[in-house]
Structures are given as structure tokens and as C-alpha cells.
């Protein structure tokens, strides 16, 4: 599904990703852990096509060269990024935003535009998945939402757009234990054999819920270690320093 080869990314001549390789197959859940400043968020931004990065290397996504695509084309192709810091958009209601986005995506994927009643049914169903109060749908996007509500709104949007690959950029940060469980359960329900997840996190707790197939450790712009779920446990216990020491 996703194949990243020798990916380099820099901002203002400062190198952040330094030759990253990563492969994700359909149905897999991958976790990326790593200390602050190792390039985790940059990786998610580069994948989603955020402007401002100088990028080299190759990213193949379902046999397409992702780096040739503008952000909306990546979304049409089935990529979704749950933002670490979701943006507040005054003057645009959540429901209208989702209607425009979903219809655009469906249109690009060759599906018919949803009837109003079907849209309403879908939006209620997906809101319930992350226990998002329906009153949030008529409010402006993320305006006045608490940190937890914003993150749930991200997962709600993900459920609406039904991506092939979803990147969760520190979706667990700022969540209390209950909200974390709700988000994790929501994501678990969305797992299928034909979709994949890339979960960026600092903590093991989210991974306890999600049970990733593969855990990567990102240090200084490169994947330093790849393992199964037990690697996350080891990191939780020992921290990153022993891995950093190995790289020197």
C-alpha cells in the first residue's frame, strides 16, 4: 500500500528526515515512536503534502507517486491525516464542511453524490462511533472544541471519508483516559483487511488498545529499529537513550 524509499525532507536547509524507509501493507497497523524532534510529525506532513518542505526520495502509494500529487489528490487517493493540532475554522459548520469534502472525495472516486437523507444517516452513525455529540455537527469546525473534542472530530472525519491509509499524528496527546479509550475503540472498529493505519505516538497506552502489527523507532530522521509490539513495551521501560547510544 505504502512504500517509502530513502526519504529526505528539510525545512530552510535544516535536514529533518535523513533517508527514511518504510513499507506498509493492506490491513496492517504500524506505530512510529520516537523522541521529540526526531521527525515524526514531519513525516506525517510530508505524506499529506503540506507545503514548505524540501523533499527528496520516493513515496509510492497504491502504485502512484505520492510526491506528484497535491494534498487534495492524496485525499482522493485514500490518504488521511488526523492532525496533531486540528485547525479552527470560524464561519464553516462541521456538517457543511463534511458534506463538501465527502462529495468531492466520492466524486473523485467515481461514486455518486449522497442524498441529503443518506448523508444525515451517515454523519449520525459516524458521530456515534466516537461519541461525538450531534450538536457539534452544526458548530463551526473545531471552534471552541476542547482538546479531546478536536481529536474525536478528527477520527469522526476519518470515519466519514473512509481512507485506505490513515495517519494518526499524536492523536492521543492531550486526551484523558476515557477519551483515549473512545478514540482507540473508534479506530479499532474502522480496521479492515483493505485499510491500514500509521500511528504516531509517544506513549504505549494508545498502542495497548490498538495492538499494532509493527512498531518502528524513529531517531534523527531515520528508522532505527523495527519490531513487534514488544518493542513498544521495551521503550516504555527503558526510554530511547539506549537506542540513541547504539547509533553513535
Amino acid at each position: 500500500m505504502l512504500e517509502i524509499t530513502d526519504l529526505h525532507a528539510s525545512v530552510d536547509d535544516k535536514a529533518i528526515l535523513k533517508g527514511l524507509n518504510l513499507q506498509i501493507r493492506p490491513g496492517e497497523v504500524h506505530a512510529i515512536m520516537g523522541p521529540n524532534g526526531s521527525g515524526k510529525s514531519t513525516l506525517s506532513h510530508v505524506l499529506a503534502g503540506r507545503p514548505g518542505y524540501e523533499v527528496r526520495g520516493s513515496i509510492q502509494f497504491n502504485k502512484r507517486n505520492l510526491l506528484d500529487l497535491v494534498p487534495e489528490e492524496r485525499a482522493w487517493a485514500g490518504l488521511f491525516l488526523a492532525f496533531q493540532y486540528p485547525v479552527e475554522i470560524p464561519g464553516v459548520s462541521n456538517a457543511n464542511f463534511m458534506r463538501s469534502a465527502l462529495n468531492q472525495v466520492r466524486c473523485q472516486r467515481g461514486l455518486p453524490v449522497l442524498e441529503a437523507s443518506d448523508f444525515l444517516k451517515l454523519i449520525r452513525e459516524k458521530a456515534a462511533l466516537v461519541q461525538l455529540d450531534p450538536s457539534f455537527l452544526s458548530r463551526p469546525v473545531n471552534m471552541g472544541f476542547s482538546g479531546g473534542e478536536k481529536k474525536r472530530n478528527e477520527i469522526f472525519q476519518m470515519a466519514m471519508l473512509d481512507p485506505k491509509l490513515a495517519i494518526l499524528d499524536e492523536t492521543d496527546s492531550g486526551l484523558d483516559i476515557d477519551a483515549l479509550r473512545i478514540v482507540a475503540e473508534g479506530v479499532t472498529k474502522l480496521r479492515r483487511e483493505d485499510n491500514s493505519f500509521l500511528v504516531i505516538t509517544h506513549y504505549q497506552r494508545l498502542l495497548d488498545h490498538l495492538k499494532p502489527d509493527i512498531v518502528h523507532v524513529l531517531i534523527d530522521g531515520k528508522i532505527m529499529r523495527t519490531g513487534d509490539y514488544t518493542l513498544a513495551l521495551e521503550l516504555e521501560e527503558k526510554g530511547y537513550d539506549w537506542l540513541k547510544a547504539e547509533t553513535v
Partner: protein
Amino acid sequence: MAQSGNGMIPSTIPDTPPTANWPTSQIEAWKYTDLRHLAEGLLWNPGNESLQPWFIRPHEMLAYFSGSGSPKKAVTGSDAFTSIIHSGTQGGWQLHIPAGLSSNTPLRVVYTPVSPSGWSAFNHHLYVEQGAHLTLIEENEEEEPLATEPMFDQSQDAKSIPLCTMTMHHLQVHLERGAELKLIRIFRCPKSKAFVHQVDTHQEEGSKLEVQTVAMGSGIIRNNVHIQQRGNHCSSGLLGLSVAFGGGHIDQYSRIQHHSLEGNSHQHYKAIAAINSTTIFNGVLRVEPQAQQTNAYQRSSNLMLDPAAHRIGHKSKGFMRPGKVNAKPELQIFADNVKCSHGATVGKLNTDSIFYLQSRGLSFEEAQRILTLAFAMEIIDQLEDESLRSEVIKQLDLLQWH
């Protein structure tokens, strides 16, 4: 700052072209829109009494309305603009609402295009007696629908294109004690035309005035709102939205003078300056020494659209500059016990917001369109008339971005 008129009050349409004393950019109030420069080469259009350049939609208060056939009321005031109206007026309408009368339906006056060329001037009077309430909608009609015009083009801005017509309206309003007036206006102006409107309001004790103006186009629009709060406890609210595109130039000017006790006034103007286009907010708030306990604020929020943000930027040739915004709020306070504030912001669309919308599958252009509309919605939501709200949204929705 003021310039005196020539004192002539025409009783009939003058036979010979008037010598207009055009305001120039040397007058502070006209700093950003030089009428003399714009009017260069334009001939005065004497008009035709049988062709009335406005119409009024059927309304219960129509009986209090009189057209240009009736004797013209004098133009009062002596600023630069009224001197033009003095010299070149072709007539106007008059409306006198008797005491205590009120209506829930808005009265709608539509100004129609006068002639294919030249400048013309009209002078209207509105008198609202004690305790009467009125909602008046003023709008101008244009032959070419604005929606077909591109949001920007590669031509020069409106000020450098020779004008073919300039239409000027002067509305003098008197609000008696406790009278209430809501004045809602939609002004549109296509390229190579100029539309200038000035309202002068005299407010007596306890009267309430709301002036809401939406101005959009690729031509030149100048909208003056002058308010004199002469009685105690007056309130005045000004709301404005400017959308300048395709090289348009929209100048919203306000001057509010507080003369009496415990008056309040609030102003909020928002403007969108698309590529090659210019918007201006120029507002003076003056609190005279006797106007104690005045509560007033003035706010101007502006959005500039940037060609660098447009993907087509690299493909297009020709002249292209970002939208330009001039914001000049001004407070003149001579009383010591008042609460007055002002603020102006100028910004571009937030690139993080654009990226967020794109990442959900909305195209770059659609993301820009949604965010620009959202910026305007704060003002549109406050327009008093539902049908006008949807009309404005429809027009903005149809604007092409490239």
C-alpha cells in the same frame, strides 16, 4: 478638511453643464479616492425628467413617497461632495414618514442605470417623524450580472481604466425623537463605472439608526456615511462588507459626530480585496466636549487575497498584484468621560486552514472560496433582511476565482 460649496441651489435642471468642484485626494476624507481625477473626461449628463432613474417596489408606505416631479428640496451641507450635488443634481425622491407610523416590510428603492456615458447626480430626502419606524433597502441595478466577472483578471486596476459613467446619490436623512431607521444597501459596480453614495443623517434624541452596506464589484464604489448625533441617547450602528475583485476599488468612509449625552455608536466593516483590487476603510469618530458618556467603537477587518497563493499564478501573464487594503480608523475625542475604541486588522488567508481543508479532499480553489466566504459570513449573518442575505451569498458564491 471640509470644502465649501458654491451655494447654488438649482430649482430646475440647469441647462448648461455645471462647474463641479470635485473633491481631490488632498482632502483627507477623499485621500484614497480622487473624484476629480476619476471624472476627468466625463461630461455632465443633464438627464431626462420623464425617465426616472429609480423605481420603488410596491409598499404600504408608498403614499408618502414623491418623485422627481415635485419641487426639489435644497441640498444642505457644505462638504466637497455636496458641492457636486449642488451643481449637477437632476432631482431625486422624497419620503416623509408621519409620526408613530411603522411597517414590518422593508421599502425597497432600486436605482437603475441612467445613461451610457457621463456623470449624473441625484439628491434624495428622507424624513422620519417622531416614533416612526422604517426599514429602507437601497440597491442599484446593473445590466451585466456581476457574477460572470472573473474574481481577478490581468488588467490594470479600476482607477487606471477610463470611466464611462459615474453615478452619484446624496441621501439626506432626518430622524426625529425616538424614530428608528434601518437602512440596508447593496451596491454593485461593474468595470469602467463608478458609483458614489453619501448619506447624511441628523439624529434627534433617542433615535436609532442602523446602516448596513454591502458593496461589491470590479468598478469603483465610494460609500460615505455621515452621522450627526444631535440629541441625547442616540444610537447608530454601521455594518459594512466590501468585496473588490477584477481590479475593483471600494472605499467605505464614515464620519460620526457625537454632540450629545450618552450616545452610542458601533461600526464594523469587513473587506475582501482580491487580486489587483483595492479596498479602503476610512472612518472618523468625533466626540465633542459636551458628548459625555459616549460609548463608541470602530472596527475594520480586512482580507487580502494573494496571487502567490493561486496556483494559476505561474501560468498567467500580465499584471498581477495582491489585493490592497487601506484602513484608516481615526478617533477625535474632546470629552473626558467616554469609552471609545478602535481597531484594524489586515491579513491573508491562513495557509494552515487551506491545507487542512485540502487534506480532507477539497480543492485548493474550493478551500480558498470556503474560507473567503466564511470571512464575509460574519457580516452577512447580521444583514436585517433574509432575502438580501441569500442574494448576497448567491452572488458571492458565483464569483469565479480563476
